[in-house]
Symmetry: C2
Subunit: 546 residues, 2 copies
């Protein structure tokens, strides 16, 4: 068939679509997020943190990291040229904080504790559940060099998670220290403290490999330390091409967890629960973040007290030849001690050397909050929920502006991830209770209907008059249904003359419709007539019962 | 003198600055705005409106109005090209609503009542108090053709203003109707209903002139109807170049207010307060929004009841030859009647033909909330605070996407203006109460100090330990002062050994420092020692008294 020639179209209509990778939030999606952020803000505030809201737009120069090339800035941010300056949407809340800390350094209190909540933008390829605009919720302390500041952030993160409804033992805040990782690198011969730029590429590959240990397994990591690794799809990832000696040291660190895991399984079958050896080995399982075992071992007497202590010992052994590594272990020990003193024991805050954190700017302690309950993934397999927050110490970020090192530490909560976790635990967005709908029987008596909603609202009851075309009364009830309304009010000329209104209990009506026979439904016991003067009292009774 | 040659600089440090026209909000600036928006949201919610949060980024195509030219879109928005699409930051919350109403038209309830709060961006020349990112706070009803929807918006706006702390008689919601304005244009011969594109430029000039009546005066407006007007700086604004007959009709409308004003002044000196003529003329003063008179006349018996009725009569007289003008007057009358039935009388909602509203897309009723109390302007002169919110009916905005007319009406509150108004009325941002500061006397006993703040926080008291360098104790007290702290806690080795803490009442201390002599101050009655176990009770007592 010949293709029909398109007629020259009239002026083309614009598409009603969000840009690719962006989305809208409607109704309870907005209120659920707001309720969660309000609870977190209350915790941050109680810890002495002050709110800060920077503008969404920054100069590319101030944002850093992404510098303009000839034509336009690097990928990763949304940027544009404006009066010869490159501007960009912020990609996180930390870069603007560094700018603020430098800009107002003479006016801000020091240390400066601040929290910030708001959208950030990433110019990345969108995917399922991955959007180009999303919320972050950060708290940072600028100007405090002491690890007491890091400990405080960890405690506050635990409090924030509990405040929004994540129960204790359903989460764990894992703490590591970049200095410990660097110590391991040093011992393995791929970090030279006198020339940090040496082996930079190799260390990057090693860090990324350790970060993916859960997914790649020990053999995958070993391959990435050597020549490289071909994944299932056949794609090849280049390895660090380390010598045999270097690989051996690193694999000792990586592999320790696996060996302990295996021996642990044997022990469980043979040793008594109280065995000190079992406890020690259980720590190894913890090293891998293997929380399946943790849930069993967490019930052993003395286990909680022992865990972080034994981890510290093991780490100290591994990095003993590296002074900065030992410094990192000492910092971890101090964090654990400070938190213990405040009642944040290893049931909530765990030292875990597998925590790497992607960002290059961390210089000391790093943290990650992981939810330990199981959910079912898209393929129906059970898996742990995983990470919902992360952060750490970054002592060089403000230096970019001022030339002076300013110690800083902080945490960022992934708002959408945490909301998803709450939904998975049944604390998610509930459909917002809809308004009482006053229907319109006589178009000419709109003023009467408006007066009714006015009375209801004055009593604090969410209420509205139907404002669509009132001709078809069925549409009005369909509308009330779509709004999830608890009550519909009906007043025709007849009721009006007698000073009465019909009150239709839609909550009860829905229950009857779902359970009772058609005959019972037809008798409509969920609708009755009351004097207009009793309107508020009647509606309130239904709302309280519903 | 010879200019010294600059040395080739080392790598230049980035400037720690917001981009031109952008700003940061710190501490109580954030909490004050949030508190105000929460109160407004509660009112919107009670009226049955649902929250909506769209993405900050839209396609330029969906935003409309600003279409891309060859190189980049028109001025007014921040826009950039992305994968061959032009994207832009939203410049208001109405354009995204129109897109949402079209995109989800099959799923949204109809009518769809929604509220939205958030930043918008304008690529305009920044000025004092004028920023390129600012908050809007909107409520709109989409899909309701009835003026009952407009009336509801007006009532809700009044409730919202009172909810945030603007008292009755300190504000007025002015209502006009574009159809009335068009009726006047029609009568004046510069609007031909059968060919609306005719005289479009002339009408634009006339509308802008009427909108500026307060500033230009009657003669200024008259000049703009004719050849044009030269302002004080010598700049010439081209006029509408209307014929004498057209000018006469329009000036009759514009000038009526002035004549009535003048006669009113005479009447005030000669006539009794109860004179019906005085009342009628007072309406004329109201027409001009001359609220100096209103405050006198508002106390006359019967005045409130009369005002909107008489205004309606006068308007009906002016547009009697225009059917659409008469339709507009009838709509105004219906709005006033509906609002009266709900108790929103002309003490709060006033029909005022001087309201024009800039945006071209309004098609029916237009509203403006004006604050009527006086403030002192930057030159020390008293002036009325002025407009804080505006809106109206726009029946063609969704049509751009779907081809079908969708009636819509709504209002937008200028968040920064309203916050400034609250500040002017003394309800502004108060310095946030700072945290209790636990000072650090012995660096080694950080765990003890952390335990103290832990106890205070667990009791719901905002508290923190000093995390800066503790060496200089004076700095710790200066920090507490900068944080606006109510209490400082001090515990040295001596107190610790005895299980005691020093509690320093900084609120009382500041009062003493401000009023008492140096000798009295030195006796420090605002600091005392209590057992550690009484810490929470002692602090709470100070907070309750402060």
């Amino acid at each position: 068939m010949a293709k029909t020639t398109e007629k020259p179209s009239k002026q083309r209509r614009p598409k009603a679509e969000t840009p690719k990778g962006f989305r809208d939030y409607l109704g309870s999606e907005v209120t659920a997020r707001k309720a969660m952020l309000d609870k977190i803000a209350a915790v941050y505030h109680r810890y002495g943190f002050d709110p800060l809201e920077t503008s969404a737009v920054e100069t590319v120069e101030a944002l850093g990291k992404f510098l303009p090339d000839v034509d336009r800035p690097n990928e990763g941010v949304f940027a544009w040229e404006e009066d010869k300056d490159w501007l960009a949407l912020r990609y996180d809340l930390t870069a603007p904080l560094a700018r603020v800390a430098a800009q107002y350094r003479n006016d801000l209190p020091s240390p400066y504790r601040r929290y910030a909540m708001g959208p950030v933008w990433r110019n990345e390829k969108p995917g399922p559940g991955r959007f180009r605009q999303f919320y972050q919720c950060d708290a940072d302390t600028v100007g405090a060099a002491s690890v007491a500041a890091d400990a405080e952030i960890c405690a506050m993160l635990a409090d924030a998670l509990e405040a929004v409804g994540i129960e204790r033992r359903d989460y764990v805040v894992k703490v590591n220290n970049r200095k410990v990782l660097n110590g391991v690198m040093e011992v393995a011969g791929i970090l030279d403290p006198s020339d940090p730029s040496k082996f930079e590429a190799e260390r990057g590959i090693v860090l990324r490999a350790i970060d993916k240990l859960d997914r790649l397994g020990v053999e995958g990591v070993r391959a990435l330390l050597g020549e490289g690794r071909k994944d299932e799809s056949g794609d090849f990832t280049k390895g660090a091409r380390l010598g045999v000696a270097e690989q051996t040291v690193l694999m000792q660190f990586v592999d320790a967890s696996r060996l302990i895991d295996e021996r642990l399984k044997q022990m469980q079958e043979t040793a008594g629960d109280e065995s000190p050896e079992l406890r020690t080995l259980a720590v190894g399982a913890q090293l891998r973040g293997n929380l399946r075992f943790r849930s069993i071992l967490g019930t052993l007497p003395g286990w909680d007290e022992l865990r972080n202590k034994v981890t510290i010992q093991i780490l100290r052994d591994i990095v003993r030849a590296s002074p900065s590594g030992l410094e990192g272990v000492a910092e971890l020990e101090e964090i654990a001690t400070l938190l213990d003193a405040q009642g944040y024991g290893p049931d909530r805050i765990v030292i875990d050397p597998s925590v790497v954190r992607g960002l290059g700017y961390y210089t000391g302690p790093v943290f990650e909050a992981e939810l330990t309950f199981e959910i079912t993934d898209e393929k129906g397999r059970p898996r742990q929920f995983g990470s919902v927050a992360g952060g750490g110490r970054y002592d060089d970020l403000v230096k970019r502006f001022t030339g002076q090192t300013v110690p800083a530490t902080g945490v960022s909560i992934g708002v959408d991830r945490l909301l998803a976790a709450l939904a998975a635990k049944g604390h998610g967005a509930k459909a917002d209770p809809g308004p009482v709908v006053v229907t319109v029987m006589d178009r000419d008596r709109m003023a009467d209907y408006q007066a009714m909603v006015g009375t209801l609202r004055a009593a604090g009851i969410r209420a509205e008059v139907y404002l669509g075309n009132p001709k078809n009364f069925g549409n009005q009830l369909k509308y009330a249904d779509k709004r999830n309304s608890p009550v519909a009010i009906i007043q025709g000329a007849d009721e009006a003359a007698r000073g009465m209104v019909q009150v239709k209990d839609l909550i009860l009506g829905a229950k009857i419709a779902a359970s009772a026979s058609h005959e019972e439904w037809k008798s409509q016991p969920a609708q009755y007539e009351v004097p207009l003067a009793d309107l508020v009292a009647t509606v309130r009774k239904i709302l309280d019962a519903g």
